[in-house]
């Protein structure tokens, strides 16, 4: 999932819609993120390309809204409600996910297994 600067990024994505859960005063999604353009990409255990500064899912609360919706640990979040997540800082990503006025987030996520699945199903699908 590396990108070539200047070239559009293409990936096989899955759409995931998470309904936020109200817990007292907070709306929670039930997962944790890591990464961001201001973070050290080498620390990311999920990324294939260690220069990938995207936002990744690092933890899923079992039984939480994210898990129910189909989010899995290691997923890379490409978009949140239309907002791009491939070139954002960590805090910007967090803010886009935790807007108080929205109680549903629609994510576009990508994961390696998706790519594999597509590759296998299409045979010699050119991998990005």
């Amino acid at each position: 999932m590396s990108f070539v600067p200047g070239q559009p990024v293409t990936a096989v994505v899955q759409r995931i819609e998470i309904q936020k859960l109200r817990q007292g005063e907070n709306l929670i999604l039930g997962f944790s993120i890591g990464g961001g353009i201001d973070q050290d990409p080498g620390q990311n255990p999920f990324s294939e390309d260690k220069s990938d500064k995207g936002i990744y899912v690092t933890r899923i609360t079992p039984g939480g809204p994210a898990e129910v919706a189909g989010l899995r640990i290691g997923d890379k979040i490409m978009q949140v409600n239309g907002w791009d997540m491939t070139m954002v800082t960590h805090d910007q990503a967090r803010k886009k996910l935790t807007k108080k006025r929205e109680d549903v987030v629609r994510l576009l996520i990508t994961r390696k297994s998706l790519e594999e699945a597509v590759k296998h199903s299409k045979g010699s699908h050119p991998r990005q």
Partner: protein, 694 residues
């Protein structure tokens, strides 16, 4: 060169001055007819000459430092004796002046008894800057330090300690006992230090070249060079400035100690336990002998006044208890010592350590009265009243004659006076451990730091694991702890609350060098206890991993047994991919941590230890795989192996990891899936990579 001649001239003049001074001193001593001090001064001067010669002759740095230290001590002693002499001379002169009647005040010349004062376990914490501390490259800036302790006329020095940035505290193990101290004593503690750089013993460099060199070198290096070559370093004036002309220090080439810090302790600082005192620091960062002191000093200052250790008065008395039959006088041999009057039936009982027949307490609350002459017998009665609880108990003593009564009363008054002067020292007898004469311990190249106590001896036999070593250490230290001086890191290994029963085994994740990560040695282990541990049966939120060498991390599973090493329930895998690389030395814990912090231990498939392979084995808590079934905000463990207040990274907080799934109960061989999970969680340390929960 003309400058050399000038120096030679000055030296000669100094020697002449010194000789004159010596004659002057001898004269004073003679006139006082006090040969004692004169002998002492002579002795010290001879010692000093010897030290000078040794300094000039020795080639090794260590020897030179030791010799310089003796030189400093001798000089200080000579100063002290000389000022003592002068005082005595003055006193004599004053006495010869006839006293006027108005000067004669109430001649209540009661003097308090003297006592023993002991200072031990001196520890001076250092405060290195982060940058200095973690700088692993470049030469070590080392200083040689020692303490000079002065009370009254007695001056003692401690052993010399070499300090560099791997040390967190300067520790002096010596116990120094001063035998004749009055209650108003002032114990002056001075810390001297001397820069111990090897390159800068350049005393003989010609000045022009020296200044060129120092200006062309870097700022800090040049500073050091200049300081070392300063002629002022050898000049007599730099000897503390105290009475420079009276006994100038001969200018010898070689290391020179400078006063770094000092403090004065007195009776109010005496306590039977450790206390922290403030230090006054002289010098600043620019000096070559500078060390970043935290500004305080911990030590144990104990005092044993003689009234507590010796018999103040002893004799035969007749005792009767108040309220008893007035005819029943018991004849006893009474001894006044410490806080009681012990009455024995026979005089021999005192030495035979037999329990006294009667003990009457004598303390600040006791009231003693001499009553009127008893018409029934000769001598006077003395009544001693104590309050025990709500009751007042009175004992009456009767002596043979008036003189006896008088001397007993005198003894009592003196005793009360002593107790009022020595204050808290008379509540209980403080223990003073006399330093036993022993051979000087072999000097280890690095010393002092608490971290270095955790040396893991190299052994070919891997089964002698770290925890065995710890067990051995514990035994050694059990003895030490009885004296109340257990090293502070032991508190970390104290028992945990015995809640956890089953312990999951954490296998080692090793380097991917082909070794299977599962060869768990079933080892007993102890885990560091955090004060705010969340009580979870089966799992404790902190683990420590012990590395036997740089390649592998292991985590100890927590164990919570008191003082014994549980066998099967907790296990601890110690794995090294190359056994031959077990290293005997420990690196500074914080240095290791910094590298950890900088680079983390994740990334890619290889589980790399962030310390480069040549690092040594050490005891470091890694949250290599830590687990807690609680949420992310679970407890953090601080394993601070050092109780000093060194840099902030000395607290190794373990990353709080949120659990993937609750893993309760023990299991011996986790599946590959779990293993990778553990890998993962290790890498998700928020210290290395920020994560946010949404």
């Amino acid at each position: 060169m003309p400058t050399d001649n000038k120096y030679a001239d000055m030296e000669e003049k100094l020697w002449i001055l010194e000789d004159l001074n010596m004659m002057y001193i001898r004269q004073i001593a003679l006139s006082l007819q006090d040969s004692d001090i004169q002998k002492k001064i002579d002795h010290e001067i001879r010692m000093r000459d010897g030290a000078c010669k040794l300094l000039a002759a020795c080639s090794q740095r260590d020897q030179a430092l030791e010799a310089a230290k003796s030189l400093q001590t001798c000089s200080t002693r000579i100063m002290a004796y000389m000022s003592e002499l002068q005082r005595m001379k003055e006193a004599q002169v004053m006495q010869n002046v006839p006293r006027r009647s108005s000067d004669a005040g109430p001649m209540d010349d009661r003097l308090p008894c003297k006592g023993k004062v002991a200072i031990s376990d001196l520890r001076i914490p250092l405060m290195w800057k982060d940058t200095e501390y973690f700088k692993n490259k470049g030469e070590l800036h080392r200083c040689a330090v020692f303490c000079l302790l002065q009370l009254g006329g007695e001056i003692f020095d401690t052993d010399m300690v070499i300090v560099d940035r791997t040390l967190t505290d300067i520790c002096f193990d010596n116990t120094i006992v001063f035998s004749e101290a009055s209650p108003g004593f002032e114990l002056r503690v001075e810390l001297y230090s001397c820069c111990s750089e090897d390159d800068y013993s350049a005393g003989s460099t010609p000045r022009k070249l020296a200044s060129k060199l120092s200006s062309s070198l870097g700022r800090s290096a040049g500073k050091k060079l200049r300081a070392a070559m300063e002629p002022g370093a050898c000049s007599p004036v730099s000897n503390g400035g105290a009475a420079p002309l009276l006994l100038p220090v001969p200018s010898v080439p070689g290391p020179k100690y400078h006063l770094l810090a000092h403090t004065t302790l007195s009776l109010s600082h005496v306590q039977d336990s450790f206390r922290t005192h403030d230090l006054t620091i002289s010098g600043n960062e620019e000096c070559s002998y500078w060390l970043p002191l935290y500004g305080s000093m911990c030590c144990r200052l104990a005092a044993q006044p003689h009234c507590m250790t010796r018999q103040m008065m002893a004799g035969w008395l007749k005792v009767k208890q108040c309220g008893g039959d007035p005819k029943t006088w018991t004849k006893v041999y009474a001894v006044l010592k410490a806080t009681s009057l012990s009455c024995y039936q026979r005089q021999e009982d005192v030495d035979a350590n037999v329990e006294p027949a009667l003990t009457i307490g004598i303390n600040k609350e006791t009231r003693i009265r001499a009553s009127e002459k008893d018409p029934h017998g000769k001598g006077q009665n003395i009544s001693i009243s104590n309050r025990y609880g709500g009751e007042e108990v009175t004992h009456t003593l009767n002596t043979e004659s008036r003189e006896d009564t008088h001397s007993w009363m005198e003894a009592f008054w003196q005793h009360f006076y002593d107790m009022s002067q020595w204050k808290q020292c008379c509540d209980d007898l403080m223990k003073i451990e006399l330093p036993s004469p022993r051979k000087p311990a072999p000097v280890t190249p690095k010393q002092g730091s608490l971290y270095h106590e955790m040396v893991i001896e190299s052994s070919d036999d891997l089964s002698s694991t770290v925890s065995d070593i710890l067990a051995r250490r514990m035994q050694e230290l059990e003895l030490r702890s009885q004296l109340g001086t257990s090293p502070t890191w032991m508190s970390v290994f104290e028992e945990n609350s015995p809640k956890s029963t089953g312990f999951p085994v954490r296998p080692c994740t090793s380097r991917l060098s082909g070794h299977s990560p599962h060869s768990p040695h079933r080892l007993p282990s102890r885990s560091p206890v955090s004060p705010h541990r969340c009580p979870q049966p089966g799992l404790l939120s902190s683990d420590a991993s012990l590395t036997s060498d740089s390649d592998s991390h292991c985590s100890t599973s927590p164990c919570s047994h008191r003082h014994d090493w549980p066998e099967p329930s907790s296990s601890f895998s110690l794995l090294s991919s190359s056994p031959s690389r077990l290293r005997p030395r420990t690196l500074s814990l914080d240095a290791k941590l910094s590298t950890l912090r900088g680079r983390g231990y994740g990334g890619g498939g290889a589980f790399q230890c962030s310390c480069q392979p040549p690092s040594s084995s050490l005891l470091a808590p890694h949250p290599a795989s830590s687990r807690s079934p609680l949420s992310q905000r679970s407890t953090q463990t601080t394993l601070s192996c050092s109780s000093s207040t060194s840099s902030s990274s000395s607290s190794n907080s373990e990353g709080s990891h949120s659990p993937e799934s609750s893993e309760g109960g023990p299991f011996s061989r986790p599946s590959p899936a779990r293993r990778s999970l553990r890998n993962l969680r290790a890498r998700l340390d928020p210290r290395n990579w920020l994560q946010s929960h949404v």
